[in-house]
């Protein structure tokens, strides 16, 4: 029995955290092994309670958030739910890396600030590592994470990618050969399915993960800078350090001064020359010529560098990372707010919650009468859930098309998609159309129309079936629901039997390899 969460307003329920999203995926994974009738009963109860509590049924976000609160309560023997365990492990790892980063930043800074009275601290090396390199990393991060996706996609067509292409293709071929030799077919399919599931998760939550990862990287970078900064301040506060610059190249002090002025621009309004950065005289006076040593150099020149280096560290190391971190948090929240939970597995839950029971047919046609789990088997007396679409374009394989009267098919499909008969456009999926998917007019199909394909469950999906589905996905947009209905073998009386669970499993496995979270497989039985 599902626990009832405290009454919450729909507005509050609209809010999802990363932990909620993880908990949601864990709950879905758990449900995959549960019998459909149990899930249906549980979710229907939750749906009724949600309605009583005034949870807005038109929003999947609020409804599913309510559902999650009901189902995510851990069982008695389970102390910490898996999603919290994962998050805790993630945060612990981030904390550990942060501590390491602080120590690393401090250690590196200490090494660079080492001074034993013989040779002053090399400003060039410190500047190169802590300022120039950080500027480089900051720009790279900006390029990788903050540029629009289309630019990132353009990388695929860059010269570098083209050069690597043969290598990548060769590796892929080698892996394919290896898997064909060493893995059984079932294992190969499972690996592909796993890869598909990962792709599917990324297409749903990729943006969220991206900003979470980006934020964590910024925390680590901040820690590094804090470590370095702390050491810098301690060193200059509690010990006498001389800073100097040197070069083998023929570089004048004027050039260095110009460069320093440019670098110090962000803080010159507050700390001007001589305070925030060394003056030309200081620069000339802190040049180290090895054969002359530092005895002849003035102490005031030699100490003039540290404010510049410290401020450089703050402005080019710490500050951008802080800004990036704020940006990451904002983006993460935005990504969370953008989740509409209208993908196939979420939609299934909503269907179970909102509508009359769907009877579970335990007498499967399968050899062993195996009970179908985690996905529905429907009977003719079911009342189907409301579909988010108002019309559907249905393509029916030739065999099924020829097996039944069109009106009968329409009624049957209408009851499953819960779209009125008159809103269904039935068409035959001929071999010609499979051979040339361009014959299917996808672009001119209205936005609210669902694509539905009816196949024979006993025929395992082929490469050309997958190509067809990929094409429909590509042309119809990434979030349009594609429904696949699988008919069981026709019985002697002409009625479609329930597809066997092994056939459904094979289809689910293959479709999961597409990595398409908006593609839903259901049985079509009478």
């Amino acid at each position: 029995m599902a626990a009832q969460p405290e009454t919450k307003s729909s507005t509050r329920l609209e809010k999802w955290s990363l932990s909620d999203v993880l908990a949601f995926e864990v709950a879905i994974a758990r449900d995959a092994d549960q019998p459909w009738d149990q899930l249906e009963k549980r979710d229907r109860e939750i749906g009724e309670k949600a309605a009583k509590n005034g949870v807005n049924g038109s929003s999947n976000r609020a409804l599913l958030r309510y559902w999650l609160d009901c189902v995510k309560k851990p069982s008695a023997e389970e102390d910490i739910p898996p999603h919290e365990l994962f998050l805790e492990a993630y945060h612990l790892a981030t904390k550990l890396i942060t501590i390491v980063a602080i120590i690393l930043g401090g250690s590196v800074a200490l090494e660079f600030l080492r001074y034993q009275g013989v040779e002053p601290v090399n400003v060039s090396a410190f500047f190169g590592l802590f300022i120039l390199l950080q500027i480089f990393f900051g720009l790279t991060t900006f390029g990788l994470f903050l540029l629009p996706t289309s630019n990132a996609k353009q990388l695929k067509f860059s010269a570098g990618f083209q050069l690597l292409r043969p290598l990548l293709l060769g590796t892929a071929k080698m892996l394919a050969n290896f898997s064909a030799r060493s893995l059984s077919g079932a294992k190969r399919q499972s690996v592909l399915s796993l890869a598909g599931s990962i792709r599917s998760s990324f297409s749903l939550y990729g943006l969220l993960l991206r900003w979470k990862l980006f934020g964590s990287l910024q925390v680590i970078a901040i820690a590094f800078n804090v470590g370095a900064l702390a050491v810098m301040l301690m060193v200059v506060s509690f010990s006498d350090r001389a800073f100097g610059w040197q070069t083998t190249l023929d570089v004048s002090a004027e050039s260095i001064h110009l460069l320093i002025q440019l670098v110090a621009l962000p803080w010159t309004w507050l700390w001007s020359e001589g305070v925030g950065y060394p003056s030309l005289v200081d620069i000339e006076g802190s040049r180290i010529v090895l054969k002359e040593g530092i005895r002849g150099l003035s102490s005031s020149h030699l100490v003039s560098w540290w404010p510049f280096l410290t401020l450089g560290l703050v402005v080019y190391g710490l500050l951008p990372r802080l800004l990036f971190l704020i940006w990451a948090r904002l983006k993460q929240n935005k990504a969370l707010a953008m989740l509409d939970f209208r993908h196939a597995s979420a939609q299934r839950i909503v269907e179970r919650m909102k509508f009359d029971p769907i009877k579970f047919e335990t007498q499967s046609h399968d050899e062993g009468g195996v009970e179908r789990k985690g996905a529905p088997a429907r009977t003719s007396d079911e009342t189907s859930p409301v579909s988010p679409s108002s019309s559907a374009s249905v393509f029916i394989s030739e065999t099924i098309w020829q097996h039944k009267e069109k009106d009968e098919l329409k009624t049957l499909i209408s009851s499953i998609l819960n779209i009125p008969d008159e809103q269904l456009k039935l068409d035959q999926l001929t071999l010609d159309r499979i051979a040339e998917p361009d014959r299917i007019d996808i672009e001119n199909t209205p936005e609210e129309t669902t694509f539905c394909f009816v196949f024979e469950s006993w025929m395992p999906p082929l490469e050309e079936t997958k190509q067809l589905l990929r094409k429909v996905r590509k042309e119809s947009g990434s979030t349009k629901m594609i429904r696949i209905l699988l008919a069981g073998k026709p019985a002697a009386n002409g009625a479609f039997q329930n597809p066997s669970s092994s056939d459904l499993d094979i289809w689910s496995l293959t479709i999961s390899q597409l990595g398409d979270p908006y593609c839903q497989v259901d049985p079509l039985s009478e």
């Binding site: 064909a180 059984s184 077919g185 079932a186 190969r188 399919q189 050899e367 394989s397 030739e398 065999t399 001929t430 071999l431 010609d432 499979i434 051979a435 040339e436 024979e456 006993w458 025929m459 395992p460 082929l462 490469e463 050309e464 190509q467 073998k489 026709p490 019985a491 002697a492 092994s502 094979i506 496995l509």
Partner: protein, 466 residues
């Protein structure tokens, strides 16, 4: 390699192509899976007679693009001499067509086509596309209907569809096919293309000779195991008389293990002769062969009835006296279980398993020698014989594609062994052979063995009951 007939096994994914190949080529290394996509590239398997390859079977991946492939074949039907080769050339660089190109390779090389379908499912437009593709290749072809379940509703539709574009049709259960059914299939291949007639007939002749040779070897193995089992005894030296009782259980165990070893060795040898080398024969848990040689169930299921046994012994000239002699002459003790105790005295002599002789002999230099066996129970050799015959029958008819099938013998049908169904003359012959083995009368055995071998050979030729 000599020029031998080559057949490509082609079809939709997950129709049982690999199972057909495994059974026809007698090769259990063929990878079979209930999940489609197990076979991703060509695999060649030779059917051998002795060491000579006589037919080559090529296992292929399933069609992945029948609609697109058919469209291409239709466009190029008249333009190409070897359309399969042209298809490969044009599509080999496309990863989506990898499987379709693979399956076309043997066709392009001139192999005959064996198109496999699962007849327990309805025919679809993809199947029709595949049939049409194969017709357009212009190669000789035969359709094999391999029903993966007992459903027969769609069988007629399949046959009707095949009649339009195939030279021959054959229903073939890849997982249950016997040798004669395999020969039947090969024989049917002759009708696909007359050019193959001589080489296929030669292959069939070789195969039948090879099969007869395997049967002969199996019979020899059976006789060998009988000789070893009936003459087997185990002895142990004991220093003091007080240790005699302690030594008996150990001797019993060693005796039983010895007999089981002899039996297992014979089984393994028979398995090897029928090319089931990877121990793929899995006797189900419920099978009688999993029972211990001396279990009650074994002794109920195998051997002769009391009446049959008395008659056989009488006809062999020993009569019931064999049992009486055994009981009175040796020091009998419960070697195994006391199952016989439930029967009357006469029945116990005939049916009981507690009649192995234990001889205790005092050794002049000191100590005692205990000897258990040979087993003198008249039922025992029939039990041994029935078990090894049943195993040989399973091996000879075990399709190489078979994963697991129930071989159990119902408990209600006692005496399921072969010997109880033989006629009185054959049973009497057996009794004589057993007696001669026990008494090591080799001259008598030489006379008896030819006829005994005939009996065993014809028994092995009979279809298995289980």
């Amino acid at each position: 390699m000599a020029d031998i007939p080559t057949f490509a096994i082609i079809g939709h994914p997950n129709e049982g192509k690999s199972s057909v190949v495994a059974t026809l080529a007698e090769d259990e290394s063929v990878r079979i899976s209930p999940v489609p996509g197990e076979t991703t590239r060509l695999a060649r398997f030779d059917l051998k007679a002795g060491n000579a390859s006589i037919i080559e079977f090529v296992d292929t991946p399933g069609f992945q693009n029948p609609a697109k492939t058919l469209a291409w074949f239709k466009q190029n039907a008249n333009a190409e001499d070897n359309i399969a080769q042209a298809f490969i050339q044009q599509h080999s660089s496309l990863s989506d067509y990898r499987h379709d190109c693979e399956l076309m390779k043997p066709v392009a090389s001139g192999a005959g086509i064996l198109y496999v379908v699962d007849g327990s499912r309805p025919i679809t437009s993809s199947d029709q596309a595949e049939m049409e593709i194969l017709r357009l290749t212009g190669k000789p072809r035969m359709a094999i209907i391999n029903c993966k379940s007992d459903e027969t509703l769609y069988l007629d539709a399949w046959k009707a569809a095949f009649r339009k574009s195939f030279n021959a049709i054959r229903v073939f259960d890849a997982c249950g096919a016997t040798f004669s059914e395999r020969i039947g299939l090969l024989d049917a291949l002759k009708s696909v293309d007359q050019d193959w007639n001589p080489s296929l007939q030669k292959a069939i002749d070789l195969l039948q000779k090879d099969w007869a040779r395997r049967g002969k070897r199996a019979v020899e193995t059976i006789i060998d195991s009988l000789e070893q089992g009936l003459r087997f005894s185990k002895s142990k030296l004991v220093a003091r008389e007080s240790d005699l009782e302690l030594a008996k259980p150990e001797l019993e165990r060693a005796y039983r293990e010895g007999l089981e070893k002899i039996e297992r060795r014979a089984w393994n040898e028979i398995q090897r002769q029928y090319r089931h080398q990877a121990l793929k024969i899995s006797i189900p848990d419920s099978s009688i062969l999993n029972e211990n040689l001396f279990s009650d169930r074994t002794w109920q299921a195998f051997g002769l009835t009391g009446k049959q046994l008395a008659l056989a012994a009488g006809a062999a000239g020993a009569g019931i006296g064999v049992g009486l002699d055994v009981a009175a002459g040796g020091i009998a003790f419960g070697v195994f279980t006391a199952a016989g105790a439930a029967f009357g005295a006469g029945a116990a002599l005939l049916k009981g398993k507690d009649l192995a002789k234990l001889k205790i002999k005092q050794i002049p230099v000191g100590g005692f020698k205990l000897q258990l066996g040979p087993n003198q129970n008249p039922q025992f050799p029939f039990i041994l014989l029935d078990r090894v015959i049943l195993y040989a029958k399973i091996c000879s008819n075990w399709a190489h594609a078979r994963q697991n099938r129930d071989l159990s013998i119902s408990d209600e049908n006692l005496k399921e062994g072969s010997s109880s169904r033989w006629d009185a003359k054959q049973r009497a012959l057996c009794s004589k052979v057993f007696q001669a083995i026990r008494k090591e009368r080799n001259d008598q055995l030489e006379t008896l063995y030819p006829e005994f071998k005939e009996v065993l050979s014809s028994e092995l030729e009979r279809n298995p009951d289980h």
